[in-house]
């Protein structure tokens, strides 16, 4: 039955995805091909669609493949499939952490994990920046040798404006995303 196939296929994708975002696309492609749910050209439509749709790529893909294959029930089956592994695993982890939060091991582990996470968040600036602020890798000597042409000037200015408005004037993130989205549509569209 197609609903079961969709559910199982996306459950597998949800379970074995690490790192999120575009890193999931090869895994999604492999799975939908194995199950014969999609051609290469439909897949490239999906990638294009994900570029202009908010939300997690895995959820976009599940809804798209499910809906194309079997309408709204198909979309529900696939989306439920992709979300359940996360949901179940996280509930188990939170349960585990709550039970052992007083233990020396867990407390010690989080002494190390918290600073690492701050570094991880700082590194995310590079990953997002690479997709929009520069024309190429963000860790590169070209940042200094190629001059202004290596940077996308308008996004860099929008990013600088965000830093100023959020850091100094405490404007809320959602407001800034709406404003910069509108500015981007006008200036880069």
């Amino acid at each position: 039955m197609i609903y079961v196939t969709l559910f199982v296929m996306f459950f597998r994708i949800g379970l074995f995805s690490f790192g999120g975002g575009l890193a999931m696309l090869p895994l999604i492609f492999q799975s939908v091909k194995d199950f014969g749910m999609m051609t290469a050209s439909e897949f490239s439509d999906l990638v294009a669609l994900s570029q202009v749709t908010p939300g997690p790529i895995a959820v976009n893909a599940a809804t798209y493949v499910g809906f194309n294959g079997a309408g709204i029930p198909g979309a529900l089956a696939a989306t439920l499939g992709v979300a359940l592994p996360s949901f179940i695993l996280i509930l188990i982890v939170v349960q585990f952490l709550e039970r052992f939060q007083e233990s020396r091991g867990i407390q010690g582990a989080f002494l190390g994990i918290r600073p690492v996470t701050v570094g991880l968040i700082a590194a995310a600036v590079l990953f997002v920046g690479e997709t929009v602020l520069v024309n190429g890798p963000i860790i590169s000597a070209k940042l200094f040798t190629e001059g202004v042409s290596y940077f996308n000037v308008i996004p860099v200015m929008l990013c600088a404006a965000t830093l100023l408005l959020s850091g100094v004037f405490k404007v809320k993130p959602i407001t800034l995303m709406i404003v910069m989205g509108a500015a981007g549509a006008l200036l880069c569209g």
Partner: protein
């Protein structure tokens, strides 16, 4: 917690995560500034430290990062039903938007305004995540031990492309060693002095 207030919480979790889902553009980490603003500051559902733990867990578990963090925060705030409410909320926008686009537009193709808007939002997200990192850093990086770990993680992940889960696991091991070999020994020495 009474039944009624539990329901109110769930409605609020669903709605806040619905809004967060709409603006998760440029990857799961784009949620961090919004989580910090809404979940920590406006609603007080988590402390800043709990939020950092949530990000660490969401990044190092398999699955979709946005769903991982919604489930985590929902569960912490309001148990199982809270987890279900937040998770449904974060998924709903993508689900509805994809179905609307495919049903009514066939395919978006090349809409320059939408692409431009996404460029603008990603540029904003970039700055917002940087500010989140600085705020959390002020809270968490209290001494040389924390600074060294944070810088090492930044270099390992950002520059050398190590997967986040390895950095988090390494951090856990170092933390356990630091706790048992250094902090606890220091405490014991203090007690002996007394």
């Amino acid at each position: 917690m009474s039944k009624k207030s539990k329901k109110t919480y769930n409605r609020s979790l669903f709605w806040e995560f619905f809004k967060i889902g709409i603006f998760t553009i440029g990857g799961g980490m784009a949620m961090i500034p919004q989580i910090q603003q809404v979940v920590v500051k406006d609603k007080g559902w988590l402390s800043e430290e709990e939020m950092v733990d949530c990000i660490a867990v969401s990044q190092s578990m398999p699955g979709v990062i946005a769903i991982n963090s919604a489930t985590y925060i929902g569960r912490k705030t309001n148990g199982f039903s809270g987890a279900a409410a937040a998770t449904t909320g974060v998924i709903a926008p993508s689900f509805l938007i994809i179905i609307l686009i495919v049903s009514f537009l066939g395919m978006v193709g090349e809409n320059h305004y939408i692409q431009g808007a996404f460029v603008g939002i990603k540029a904003a997200v970039c700055g917002l995540i940087l500010i989140s990192a600085v705020k959390l850093g002020r809270q968490i990086l209290k001494g040389p031990f924390q600074w060294i770990l944070a810088v090492a993680a930044f270099l390992a992940i950002g520059v050398f492309g190590i997967t986040a889960v390895w950095a988090v696991l390494a951090g856990a091991v170092v933390g356990i060693l630091y706790n048992t070999l250094w902090l606890e020994r220091k405490n014991r020495e203090k007690e002996e002095e007394k």
